[in-house]
């Protein structure tokens, strides 16, 4: 059990900067998920912590110890690899016992711990098998087991679910969350799947191009994305974006996308006054686009016109792909909605829950304006 700190960490591969001044303070017993598209530096960050890569600059700390020059074997961490990396010539038992044997743990102690871990993971029956005789899901559990028996200070997971099929992934996700609750240890988990991040993390670090974009709890990340990148990355289907202009209309502040204009609620007017007559990006999540017939009573809705491009019935809801002027967007609406392809319809958007991004503030990733 220990905290983990990335203190101004840089990692360069030749001209390529994989980590651009990464600062994260991970508390003890936290479940931190590093998420981002491939090549964003999340795996590099994990490998720097494991000691499999050397940092170019800055400090990596486990607890209060700077571990920059500590070899991986002395960092007291355990890692679950994407490919599981089970030792093919050893049985499941020996795979799990290997790390303990290296640490000269007494035989009975090894046996106790391996059997305990096997029971937690439901792999008692497999202990005598070789990895090649196991299914993907079983291998994955053995890899987790190998980490558990070590009772390390920190658990590292490098996309451990990406080789599993969809159903198994959902199950294993829950198991790992449960494991975190039972073990009460720091978990650091890398994934490119925002669903995994949202469902498991106590906090999420969103990364892009080697830069930390936002570090916050899943709910905060979802409700208050710090910039356009985070807004687009977290949530599925992704947030709708409209290039728009803020314009004053008497005492009202209007968001004008060209295809429609909606009124900014009065409580928020002062927040956006400085952006008047500027190009902004207006963001609205698909679940905040409603069929006007089924708008919840607590929502301050603004009606906009659009044309139905096509619809996808999900059973509990309907995804409607819409066209408004030059904009394409998606709505997740009540399943009772009867919209058809080509219909000109009215939609109600929830003006309590919109986002305005200022593209001039940062070309790459315009920050959100709260």
């Amino acid at each position: 059990m220990a905290s983990v700190t990335y203190d101004h960490v840089w990692k360069r591969f030749g001209d390529f900067t994989a980590l651009n001044e990464l600062n994260i303070a991970i508390e003890d017993k936290e479940f931190l998920v590093l998420v981002g598209p491939s090549g964003c530096g999340k795996t590099t960050a994990l490998r720097c912590l494991a000691g499999l890569e050397e940092v170019s600059d800055g400090k990596v700390m486990i607890g209060n110890t700077v571990v920059n020059d500590v070899p991986p074997k002395d960092r007291d961490i355990a890692m679950v690899f994407q490919s599981y990396a089970l030792y093919p010539h050893m049985t499941v038992y020996d795979n799990m016992a290997f790390g303990l044997k290296l640490r000269k743990t007494p035989k009975e102690e090894i046996k106790r711990r391996v059997e305990e871990a096997a029971e937690i993971l439901g792999i008692e029956a497999l202990l005598k098998r070789k990895p090649r005789e196991l299914s993907g899901g079983q291998r994955q559990r053995v890899a987790v087991g190998r980490a558990i028996v070590r009772e390390p200070k920190v658990f590292l997971f490098d996309e451990p679910l990406s080789n599993l099929d969809a159903k198994l992934r959902v199950q294993t996700r829950a198991q790992i969350s449960k494991l975190h609750q039972n073990l009460q240890t720091t978990f650091i988990y890398v994934t490119h799947d925002q669903t995994e991040a949202m469902t498991m993390a106590t906090r999420i670090a969103v990364m892009n191009k080697g830069l930390l974009q936002q570090l916050d709890t899943p709910q905060m990340l979802y409700d208050y994305p710090a910039n356009l990148f985070v807004a687009g990355f977290i949530g599925s289907p992704a947030m709708n974006f409209f290039s728009a202009k803020l314009r004053k209309d008497g005492n009202n502040l209007m968001v004008d996308t060209g295809a429609f204009a909606v009124k900014v609620p009065e409580v928020k007017v002062s927040t956006y006054m400085h952006l008047v007559d500027k190009e902004v990006i207006f963001g609205i999540r698909p679940e905040d686009v409603h069929n006007p017939l089924f708008v919840p009573s607590d929502v301050s809705a603004a009606e906009i016109p659009a044309k139905v491009d096509f619809t996808e019935l999900m059973g509990n809801e309907i995804y409607i792909y819409l066209i408004a002027g030059e904009h394409n967007f998606v709505g997740r609406v009540d399943p009772r909605t009867r919209f058809h392809m080509g219909d000109e319809v009215k939609l109600a958007i929830n003006m309590d829950n919109f986002h305005i991004f200022d593209p001039s503030a940062d070309r790459e990733n315009p920050p959100a304006v709260r």
């Binding site: 991986p72 355990a78 994407q82 490919s83 030792y87 090649r132």
Partner: protein
């Protein structure tokens, strides 16, 4: 057509005759073509270029023709017979050649080994008794054992160490090329090269040593040594030559096996708490075990059959004789076909278990 049974019978009759006729004529023509080609090549005094051209066309075309015609013939048979016979058309020639060049000579050698040196009188196990009790033969057995143990051990372990080390070096390709280069040299060529290294001119006025090893020894203040005439050490000096030649081979094969180990496996071991030495013994060696065994057995068979180096360097004198060299001496110097054949059979029997083990390894790995 169906209305006229008479016509049907005629057509059946003619077609049957036609089929039989064609079945005889086509192979006959094929045989003639091949035969004439052979006669032409044997007796011709035509221009060399033409002969080469005809030989290529006749050789390649003849083989094709032979396969094609026999296949065509077989396909005339009833279906179940086609299925039964067809594979043998294609495997048959290879089996026949194998039998002709391997099985029959082996069998003949076996017979010869029970006959005297004129190959006329059967002498029972006399030749084997000689081969297993003669002083020179026992020395050869001992030396072969030395070759097998030390030659294999050093070739494989050096190859393995270099492969692992080179894997971590920036100049991997340079090292590997240098180590691999001797592979291109024949054993006889290597013998000539190493003769320069071990050369000894003897002591006396006006004699200067030209051997590399003696030059080094003298430069360090020692006296020159007749390296190849000092048993038992001369055996090791000869073994060094094979190690020099074969390390490149073991290195290349083992290196590719090491590169086949997933990086994550080594990283997992590192995180698990292994140091590099442990990784080498606990992860790398077990993972490449199959390759290691294959390489070792290959070198083992090499050492068992070893001939060229000893033949070129010492001729088997000064206590460096090996089985294959003694076979050569018996057959071609002393003209004793019986003893030579007995030695050859013993060598064959010695190689067989290694071969079987090797083959079993191959099969196991396919199952992997």
């Amino acid at each position: 057509m169906q209305n006229n049974p008479f016509k049907g019978i005629i057509s059946l009759f003619t077609s049957a005759i036609g089929r039989i006729f064609v079945s005889i004529i086509v192979p006959l023509i094929t045989f003639l073509v091949l035969w004439q080609g052979f006669i032409f090549l044997r007796d011709t005094e035509a221009n060399q270029f033409l002969v080469v051209l005809v030989a290529i066309v006749w050789g390649v075309g003849g083989v094709m023709l032979l396969y094609y015609v026999t296949n065509w013939l077989i396909e005339k048979l009833p279906k179940e017979w086609v299925n039964r016979l067809q594979p043998f058309i294609f495997v048959g020639p290879a089996l026949a050649i194998l039998a002709w060049f391997l099985a029959i000579p082996t069998f003949r050698t076996l017979i010869l080994s029970f006959q005297d040196q004129t190959s006329r009188v059967f002498v029972g196990f006399d030749n084997y008794i000689f081969a297993l009790t003669d002083r020179i033969m026992l020395e050869a057995f001992r030396n072969n054992l030395l070759w097998m143990i030390f030659g294999t051990f050093f070739s494989v372990s050096l190859g393995l160490i270099i492969a692992v080390m080179a894997d971590r070096s920036r100049f991997e390709n340079v090292y590997k090329t240098i180590i691999f280069m001797p592979m291109a040299i024949s054993f006889v060529g290597a013998g000539v090269i190493w003769k320069f290294i071990y050369t000894y001119r003897g002591e006396g006025a006006g004699i200067a040593e030209i051997g590399l090893l003696n030059a080094i020894v003298i430069a360090l203040g020692g006296t020159s040594q007749p390296w190849l005439q000092q048993p038992p050490w001369n055996n090791f000096f000869l073994i060094v030559i094979m190690v020099w030649l074969q390390t490149g081979y073991t290195m290349v094969i083992l290196s590719s096996a090491i590169k086949g180990i997933p990086a994550e496996l080594l990283e997992a071991a590192r995180v698990d708490g292994s140091n590099e030495l442990r990784i080498f013994f606990n992860i790398i060696i077990p993972t490449i075990k199959g390759t290691l065994i294959t390489v070792s057995t290959t070198i083992l068979i090499f050492s068992l059959k070893l001939f060229d180096i000893v033949r070129v360097m010492t001729g088997g004198n000064y206590g460096t004789n090996v089985i294959a060299n003694e076979f050569y001496l018996q057959r071609f110097t002393y003209g004793n076909a019986g003893r030579a054949s007995a030695i050859a059979i013993i060598l064959l029997i010695a190689v067989v278990p290694v071969m079987i083990y090797n083959l079993r390894q191959f099969r196991e790995r396919k199952a992997f």
